[in-house]
């Protein structure tokens, strides 16, 4: 009993930090409809700034608390600046481009932190006067834990007052319901949004700084927390602050229980192995029972839609066909004009083109946004890896396992996902991807865990770099042609009808959900093919093949290329992969440069690269 109480208190304390960060994210989403991927980065920034500022002020009572507060305010200012400099310019662009800009910020903050503070972990300062332990119900509890447990409800109460008792709060709530109308009533929306970003970012920074006495500041904090924060926000209901608090409690308690009872096994699986998966299982369960989270509301349809209608898909015209032919010829003769390194890079580009095209198929035609498409790429890679490791399968067979495992995973996960829509759907895809990743990471007997599976080499007949290039390239081109075929087949039209108006499509007898499910499975299958080819290219498989960064890369490729152009993923994946490879070889700070390029591209070409060239061509026609 005492043990349980102890665990309960530990869980409550760790929930506080999670709540602070999640509340900031949920506030930003509620008003601006932006899913801020950089929220974890702001949390990390808060922690680093906290260490520096508290060090600067000295560790006294005033120095410590002043340092915490100032760290939060500086992070708030960073968030506000980003909103003013970047997001403000692209509120008219499709919502996903705002997401892309926040990806860019993640990369920039990562390298900025590395550059300013170095690669070493920084130990957090102790809180003066709150060290040691206090007796609670006969238990010795760290005093700082008690402070944390009390701090979260205080912040919750302060936020409630802010949103219900001040004019600013009322305007914010009005703006979450109908922004355009708020402007028409004489309120400058720009400053409202900037203010919201300031508040949300400051809360993330505070969350990072306030956990310092219990931990440290390190460079992996950003991605480590972002998945948990997404889960909390979605489980609580996006936009609901109280929901975020309840969800943070729930998630933290379950995790603490699983960690402290690590050795308890259930059906052969140890509790610690469930720790990462548990959070996402909770989320999947909540979303299936309550599609808008614990306290969320059904997404308001109607006035929030600010984007222009999706452009039409047209079969390639003559000049595009000629360009495609030229690219094909170039690909065919590449091994004669380039060295093995370039040929190997080209193989990778082709594989990612297929991967991006499978995501574009799902997003562009199906209107299904996936934040976790790497799951299927990774399943494909593991399909190959497992077949080789456990059955010693030859490549020809192992490569069949790739699409099978990926399509099977997509069939299963997709069944749940297509029951939701919009951001919730995207978040559920993320949750499933994290589940797949956790299994690969923690089921060591099967997958080799973090080390992955090595020794996956193609047989002699495709053993050379050039032979494998032709082999993989042929499969990728066939895959692309098949995807293009689907887009212009009746199935493609049906999908697009469901994307543009689910209600109307439903009314004319289209089973939108079933078609989306099929599209989800197909997209997963093609991603799996890409993943399988990738495994043989690299000779190994590791959990990274289904981790969040790869899902993000895929999104960046598709969005850079333009979601609504079939040539988009080709341009996007090629540009992104080449850029990344090139930058990696040039500088240690490739992330920052890539991030800046992404942000710049989003601001300059909100229709994507392919969209931008199409726009130029249209303009050319208009003048002619």
């Amino acid at each position: 009993m005492e043990f349980l109480l102890q665990q309960l208190l530990t869980g409550l304390a760790s929930a506080s930090g999670l709540f602070l960060v999640a509340s900031g994210l949920t506030i930003i989403f509620g008003v601006t409809r932006i899913v801020n991927f950089a929220h974890g980065s702001l949390y990390m920034l808060g922690a680093y700034l906290g260490v520096s500022l508290i060090g600067l002020f000295g560790g006294g009572t005033l120095g410590f608390w002043g340092g915490l507060l100032l760290a939060a305010l500086v992070v708030g200012a960073v968030g506000a600046l980003f909103e003013m400099a970047v997001l403000r310019r692209i509120y008219q662009a499709p919502e996903l481009f705002q997401l892309l800009a926040t990806f860019g910020l993640v990369l920039v903050v990562q390298d900025a932190t590395l550059w300013i503070w170095g690669a070493q972990d920084l130990l957090g300062p102790r809180a003066p006067g709150l060290g040691g332990a206090t007796q609670v119900f006969g238990l010795r509890v760290p005093t700082y834990d008690i402070f944390l447990i009390l701090f979260a409800p205080v912040v919750l109460g302060a936020l409630w007052l802010l949103f219900n008792r001040t004019r600013w709060g009322i305007l914010i709530r009005a703006a979450t319901q109908d922004r355009e109308m708020v402007s028409a009533l004489g309120v400058n929306r720009k400053w409202l949004f900037t203010g919201v970003f300031f508040l949300g970012a400051a809360l993330a920074g505070l969350g990072g700084a306030v956990q310092l006495p219990k931990g440290s500041a390190h460079l992996h904090m950003d991605l480590q927390i972002i998945a948990s924060v997404f889960v909390v926000v979605v489980v609580g209901g996006m936009g609901s602050i109280l929901g975020a608090y309840l969800a943070a409690l729930l998630i933290s308690l379950i995790r603490v229980l699983l960690i402290t009872n690590a050795q308890v096994t259930l059906g052969g699986v140890a509790a610690w192995q469930m720790e990462l998966v548990s959070m996402f299982l909770v989320m999947a369960l909540v979303l299936i029972l309550r599609p808008w989270g614990l306290l969320g509301r059904r997404e308001v349809l109607g006035y929030q839609h600010s984007g222009t209608p999706e452009p039409m898909l047209r079969p390639a015209d003559r000049s595009l066909q000629l360009a495609g032919l030229a690219v094909l010829v170039l690909l065919l003769v590449l091994p004669w004009i380039a060295g093995p390194y370039l040929v190997s890079v080209a193989t990778e580009v082709l594989i990612f083109v297929l991967f991006a095209a499978s995501l574009q198929f799902l997003m562009g035609l199906g209107g299904v946004i996936s934040f976790g498409h790497a799951a299927y790429f990774g399943l494909g890679a593991y399909g190959v890896g497992l077949a080789v490791r456990h059955w010693g399968a030859p490549m020809e067979l192992a490569l069949l396992a790739a699409p099978l495992l990926a399509a099977g995973g997509a069939l299963l996960f997709g069944w749940f996902c297509v029951r939701l829509s919009g951001v919730y759907l995207a978040m559920l895809t993320l949750a499933f991807a994290q589940i797949a990743w956790s299994i690969a990471f923690q089921w060591i007997e099967l997958t080799g865990g973090d080390n992955g599976i090595i020794g996956i080499w193609p047989p002699a007949w495709v053993g050379s770099v050039t032979a494998y290039y032709y082999f993989a390239g042929t499969i990728c081109v066939i895959g692309l042609l098949l995807l293009r075929h689907f887009a212009f087949a009746p199935f493609g039209y049906t999908l697009r009808a469901g994307r543009d108006s689910p209600l109307r499509a439903d009314a004319i007898g289209i089973d939108v959900r079933r078609h989306r499910w099929l599209a989800f499975t197909l997209a997963g299958c093609f991603a799996g093919v890409a993943g399988g080819l990738f495994a043989y290219l690299k000779g190994s498989v590791s959990p990274e093949a289904m981790a969040l960064p790869l899902s993000v890369d895929a999104l960046v490729m598709v969005l850079l290329g333009g979601v609504q152009a079939l040539t988009g993923p080709i341009a996007g994946a090629a540009a992104f992969t080449l850029l990344k490879t090139e930058l990696l070889s040039l500088t240690n700070y490739w992330r920052a440069i890539l991030g800046c390029i992404i942000i710049l591209l989003v601001v300059l070409f909100p229709q994507g690269l392919a969209g931008a060239t199409a726009g130029l061509r249209r303009r050319g026609e208009g003048q002619a």
Binding site: R167, I170, E180, S183, A184, L185, G186, N188
Partner: protein, 236 residues
């Protein structure tokens, strides 16, 4: 008398489709002008374009002695032009008092001053449900609330988009009395309507539009007398 609102060669677009083709008209101080036309004639678009809510609008709009062409809508609202949308668009999760708070602007010279207290005298129903969420009110009550919310900005002129649409006859009558009362306060009104009878009882002048073009401009009496215009553009 110089007009409080003057529109010249207004053109508006949805995407690449042009909806308004060079509209010009004016509203004098204290005047009620009815913008009359069938469904899809461009009435709502005209009001939104004046209010700066549509991107890519061309032409010139003068309000209260300033050219407001291309201004963002909040600046136009702060100059004293109120907008009451057709779909009501109250904030469903805010209470009546909170809805009013969103509309509140500082007092303005030369325009009637409003407080929640004064508005509750004009709309007694609202006074009885100050803390009710906007989404839990009837259509008529919501229509009252959206007008009251706009008045909280102490405007000198308001754009009223089909205030009688979808309301019970009793409420329509009440709405008519309210608009007449606002006119007595000295408010200028641009009223978009399909209901000729409703508009006729309130308006000094009428502008008939069809397919985004002005087809008739004149007094209400002249419109009543002009059978040809009514038959051609209003189907009456």
């Amino acid at each position: 008398m110089s007009p409080v609102l003057q529109v010249e060669n207004l053109e508006a677009f949805y995407g690449r489709a042009q909806v308004l083709f060079g509209l010009s008209f004016a509203v004098a101080r204290g005047e009620v002008v009815a913008l009359i036309g069938r469904n899809g004639a461009g009435k709502s678009t005209t009001l939104k374009a004046i209010m700066g809510m549509l991107a890519g609008t061309r032409g010139r709009v003068h309000f209260a002695g300033q050219e407001v062409t291309g201004w963002p809508s909040h600046r136009i609202a702060r100059l004293g032009l109120g907008y009451v949308p057709e779909e009501r668009r109250i904030f469903p999760e805010l209470t009546v008092l909170e809805n009013l708070e969103v509309g509140r602007q500082p007092p303005r010279d030369g325009a009637p001053q409003w407080t929640p207290q004064r508005l509750f005298e004009l709309f007694p129903n609202l006074g009885e449900m100050r803390d009710r969420a906007g989404g839990r009110m009837s259509g008529g009550e919501q229509q009252m609330l959206t007008i009251a919310r706009t008045l909280m900005g102490n405007p000198q002129a308001i754009l009223l988009d089909e205030p009688s649409e979808g309301l019970a006859p009793v409420i329509v009558e009440q709405m008519g009395r309210t608009i007449a009362a606002l006119k007595d306060e000295g408010l200028s009104v641009l009223l978009s309507e399909q209901n000729l009878q409703f508009a006729g009882a309130l308006a000094d002048r009428a502008c008939v539009i069809e397919s985004g073009q002005l087809r008739f401009e004149g007094s209400m009496a002249a419109l009543r007398a002009d059978r040809a215009v009514r038959a051609a553009y209003l189907g009456l």
